[in-house]
């Protein structure tokens, strides 16, 4: 297990290094001078140089990259203050440490993602099992068609629609409260009420896809030889279903779930923009419009880290599910 973790971590670090390099060089290839922004009005060339030095962008790009990476591992000194490791630099726009901003936005994204994941995982798996169990019946067909239609409902379409119908309608009855992020620690009820609609909208497509996937996997598993063996042993239908077929169908579900969760933790952009939730996704979108490169770099690295991390987690889960997998 330890060796597995070590090996995978090394791989992950390699991947992150490459991603950071690619991102860094691509970003800094663009012909814009962020120092001009930071320098503001009444900017003299001298001042511009000072600002550039403060931002650490007067050096050649490779040197900047080196400084950046050193900052992550060893910390870095900025005129605005000491930036201990892991230092992701300072925002161009408001001189806040990038890491602080990311950590500040993180709870929103985590709340949104985790809540959404709970919804789509439970609903998706439940519906998928229901459909597979009642395979071929009207229920199955209805659920399959429904999930097909649901899986084509893009967030940017149903999000505004749901807001218009359930939240901002002209009537007195509002099914959901206005979407907002209230920290769980401050007000669990408000946290739940404010995120309920985003969770549901975010999980619509996922629920549909997980339903389809779980159903297909279960049906495939039900055709496995060992499932037939179990039936031939006289195991009841539910035992066969839940003890044998279900277990095997978990592996692909866990794989996809890991990928989905990993990428959602890096920011559920469209959901966050649609519901104006201050998460990492919106931070990224705002950073793009502001050319706030350090922030964008930070979010990008963080998102990649999440993806890689969840990859490792998924592999570790395989070992829990399937005894044939050994983490050596």
């Amino acid at each position: 297990m330890l060796r597995f973790l070590l090996r995978r971590s090394l791989g992950a670090v390699a991947i992150l290094l490459i991603i950071s390099a690619v991102t860094f060089f691509l970003f800094y290839a663009i012909p814009r001078n962020p120092a001009l922004l930071a320098c503001g009005k009444s900017c003299t060339p001298d001042q511009l140089a000072i600002v550039e030095r403060n931002l650490g962008i007067d050096d050649p790009v490779p040197v900047q990259y080196w400084d950046y990476m050193t900052g992550i591992f060893a910390g870095r000194d900025f005129p605005a203050g000491d930036c201990p490791a892991p230092c992701l630099g300072y925002s161009f726009t408001n001189n806040q440490p990038v890491l602080d901003t990311i950590l500040d936005r993180l709870p929103t994204t985590v709340s949104l993602t985790l809540g959404g994941a709970v919804v789509f995982l439970t609903l998706g798996l439940a519906f998928g099992m229901l459909a597979a169990w009642h395979r071929g019946t009207l229920l199955d067909k209805t659920m399959s068609s429904a999930s097909l239609v649901l899986s084509s409902l893009q967030i940017y379409f149903i999000g505004p629609l749901a807001l218009a119908v359930f939240v901002y309608n002209d009537g007195d009855f509002h099914l959901f409260s206005q979407p907002e992020y209230v920290p769980f620690t401050e007000d669990p009820g408000g946290w739940f009420a404010g995120l309920l609609l985003p969770w549901l909208v975010l999980s619509t497509i996922f629920t549909a896809n997980y339903t389809r996937m779980a159903r297909a996997e279960l049906i495939e598993q039900l055709q496995e030889d060992h499932v037939r063996t179990a039936r031939a042993k006289g195991m009841s239908r539910s035992t066969v279903f839940f003890r044998y077929a279900w277990r095997g169908s978990l592996i692909p579900v866990v794989t996809i779930f890991g990928i989905d969760l990993g990428s959602l933790f890096g920011g559920a952009m469209i959901t966050e923009v649609t519901f104006t939730l201050p998460g990492l996704g919106r931070l990224a979108v705002d950073s793009v419009t502001q050319s706030n490169l350090p922030m964008l770099m930070g979010v990008m690295l963080f998102a990649a880290l999440m993806i890689v991390l969840f990859n490792i987690l998924v592999d570790a889960c395989y070992a829990l599910i399937d005894p044939r997998v050994r983490l050596a």
């Binding site: 970003f27 071929g136 239609v149 940017y156 379409f157």
Partner: protein, 325 residues
């Protein structure tokens, strides 16, 4: 094996080629055929957008609502109810700019399908090339390509699109010059393509690995066929099924992803009509004019559903066992 000395069996569908069988199976799948027609309809609409708009007598660029008084109110919204739908503007008027929604949608579908189709073709070719190369060549190549795929898979996709789309265009064009629409289209295609081929690549790598061990490939290799010939004659025909199935799933995916980018504000810009940007505008104005989002939204749902059904049918036709029923 000894050649048959007697008549070979003629009965049943045994004598048909796999292609014919697949086609037969597909044709018998009513849902598949209908969704195929729907998909075809969208492509025809996209292709014939100029013709349709000519017959209809409007174009997607003229600001009818701004030029003709009485169509838009002081806030820039259609005066008539339901987004200004009437005999003249079938799907209503666009808020603010007052353009015709019907032709906007037609041309938007045209642009989106063009982009998605281009990305699909490129991603499929890349997937085939790298997937088969990894599977067939094996060894170091396999390692390199597989790690490359891992690397690209670790890129946060959406973030990557959003972050790099604005940059890609600046690499092509002097910022002083008007960025031609085709450059913007190409940037979107390139960005989507770069991160769009890996799934197919992985599938094909696996399929090739499996095929490589099979007798007929071995036989071809032993008989001295060049690798290129083995790939072309023995491997490619055997991966048609995953390629086609994946491609049918890919295309609607690229349509919705490209639309998402427009929604996030990094897609095509005005005045090029764009399906996805209609959602951005729709999300902006839905409180005052919810009708505006109706037609783009519903048509996208129909399109994606039809394409997914088609994908399922294609898969079933190739591999009846995996059936959804």
């Amino acid at each position: 094996m000894v050649p048959s000395e007697t008549r070979t069996a003629e009965a049943g569908p045994v004598g048909r080629s796999p292609g014919q069988l697949i086609w037969r199976r597909f044709r018998r799948d009513r849902v598949g055929v209908i969704s195929g027609f729907v998909v075809l309809f969208f492509f025809v609409v996209g292709l014939c957008a100029p013709l349709i708009s000519k017959l209809y007598g409007k174009d997607p660029y003229t600001r009818y609502g701004q030029i003709e008084p009485g169509l838009l109110n002081g806030f820039g919204y259609p005066v008539k109810p339901n987004g200004g739908i009437d005999g003249e503007f079938w799907f209503g008027l666009e808020p603010f700019l007052g353009r015709d929604v019907f032709t906007q949608l037609l041309y938007g579908i045209r642009t989106s399908l063009l982009i998605a189709l281009a990305v699909t073709v490129l991603a499929t070719l890349t997937g085939i090339l790298l997937g088969i190369a990894a599977g067939y060549l094996g060894g170091r190549w396999d390692f390199l390509i597989s790690r490359f795929i891992d690397l690209l898979m670790a890129f946060p996709q959406q973030l990557f699109f959003v972050a790099f789309l604005p940059i890609v265009a600046t690499l092509f064009v002097d910022p002083r010059e008007e960025t031609p629409t085709w450059v913007r289209v190409v940037s979107i295609v390139v960005v989507l393509w770069v991160l769009g081929w890996m799934t197919l690549g992985r599938i094909l790598r696996g399929a090739t690995l499996a095929l490589r061990e099979r007798e007929f490939v071995e036989a071809a290799k032993v008989s001295g066929a060049s690798p290129w010939r083995v790939i072309r004659k023995e491997l490619l025909p055997n991966v048609v099924s995953p390629v086609l199935v994946q491609a049918t799933y890919m295309l609607p995916n690229f349509v919705t992803t490209a639309a998402a980018l427009s929604f996030l504000g990094v897609g095509l810009v005005e005045p090029t009509p764009d399906w996805g940007r209609m959602f951005a505008i729709g999300a902006e104005v839905y409180e005052a004019d919810i009708t505006y989002m109706f037609f783009p939204g519903v048509s996208m749902v129909i399109f994606v559903v039809a394409f997914n059904l088609l994908g399922d049918s294609v898969r079933d036709a190739f591999d009846p066992k995996s059936g959804r029923r």
